[in-house]
Amino acid sequence: MTDNSQVMQVRQEVDKLLATRHDDLYKHVLASVADVLAIDASKISPRASLIDELGAESLDFLDLLFRLETDFKVKIPRDGIRLIAQDGLADGFEQGGVLTPAAIERLKILMPEVAQDKLVPGLKSHQLPNLFTVETFVRLVAWRLAEVPA
């Protein structure tokens, strides 16, 4: 049995911070996403995949992270979610490019904003960014603001 206690702790700390600051952070992240993608903020829904539905590319993710780092005065590792999820996994985070079952379990804990039927066996690690929404970035910022160790 994999020990998911550290990942659970990250989840709890993020939820705790978002309990009071969610709307404030969401507004800010939404504005940054709209700016980076040059799309009207009103056209961006919280659950829309930035890559699949809004045409974002990896360049845009980098730019977005840089803006959020500057605005919130935090450092966000470029592979933040993977970083939290992969620590101490006996079988690793991925094998042959496919996420391991243990990694999927952890991602379900870390990414409640993603429909659980999207986090399924067979998901490839390079497909993970396709699941990112505005909410995903809100949670990444919250993780750094809560200063939970990676």
Binding site: S58, L59, L62, D63, F66
Partner: protein
């Protein structure tokens, strides 16, 4: 051992190439300060490994793209050790990556600064701690500094600046007994590289085309960086050594 008693600082050494360099320097007898930004667990593991070799080591958190934090990092080294013999300028911060037509000024500026201004100010501070004892400064560059890698302009241009600055630093710091050189690597198999969408292509190209017939590993770079810090490299000034399994020899 060749670097017995030497004091070293390696920026960005919690993982990847920086970690391999820190460990290699430790294996050769150096005490190593392990700088990191967010990966405190990984940094601690590197420090523990160095301790287990009998070296002095400590983890020092600092985002070296921030000049105030960079200054703080050197303040810490000064406070802990009072001196320095080896400075490895490895960490960078990539905020922009993509087609030149789409690069935005702030992210571009930040990326370039994290290469060249960090190297300049870091070397100034290192030289102060090396006063009276000489030393070695080694920076990291990559093939994208001279050739073209898709999307890589911010980093390639930053690395090109590092290579040029290496020459200026070498000329002016040489008389102080401080040798400055750079190691330029081809694609190296690290977590950082896996984030690029072209990782699989780079791996495939290296394995099929490079005379070395494989992708570079962190130790391939670390061994050359370490050599440049030893007395064996005493007559090498201001050079950029290309360490790429021969990849750049090919015209693609």
């Amino acid at each position: 051992m060749m670097l017995n008693g030497k004091l070293a600082l390696v920026t960005g050494s919690s993982r990847g190439i920086g970690k391999a360099i820190a460990i290699r320097l430790g294996e050769l007898g150096a005490d190593v300060a392990v700088n990191y930004v967010t990966r405190d667990g990984d940094a601690k593991r590197v420090v523990d490994l160095l301790h287990s070799m009998g070296r002095r080591s400590f983890a020092a958190q600092a985002d070296v793209s921030d000049l105030a934090a960079l200054g703080g990092l050197f303040d810490r080294v000064g406070a802990e050790w009072g001196a320095l013999d080896i400075y490895v300028n490895n960490a960078i911060d990539v905020a922009a990556f993509g087609p030149v037509a789409r690069l935005r000024p702030d992210a571009w500026r930040h990326t370039i600064d994290s290469h060249v201004t960090t190297f300049l100010i870091g070397s100034q501070r290192a030289a102060k701690l090396m006063a009276g004892r000489g030393g070695a400064i080694v920076a990291l560059s990559s093939l994208g500094s001279r050739g073209y890698i898709p999307g890589y302009a911010p980093v390639g241009v930053g690395k090109a600046a590092i290579e040029s600055l290496t020459r200026y630093l070498a000329v002016e710091l040489g008389p102080l007994g401080i040798r400055v050189n750079t190691v330029s690597g081809g694609p190296i198999d690290t977590d950082a590289l896996k984030q690029f969408s072209t990782y699989e292509q780079m791996k495939d190209a290296s394995t099929r085309l490079a005379p070395g017939r494989r992708m570079g590993q962190p130790d391939d770079i670390a061994d050359v960086v370490a050599f440049l810090c030893t007395n064996g490299a005493r007559w090498i000034y201001g050079q950029t050594l290309i360490v790429d399994g021969g990849l750049s020899l090919l015209s693609h």
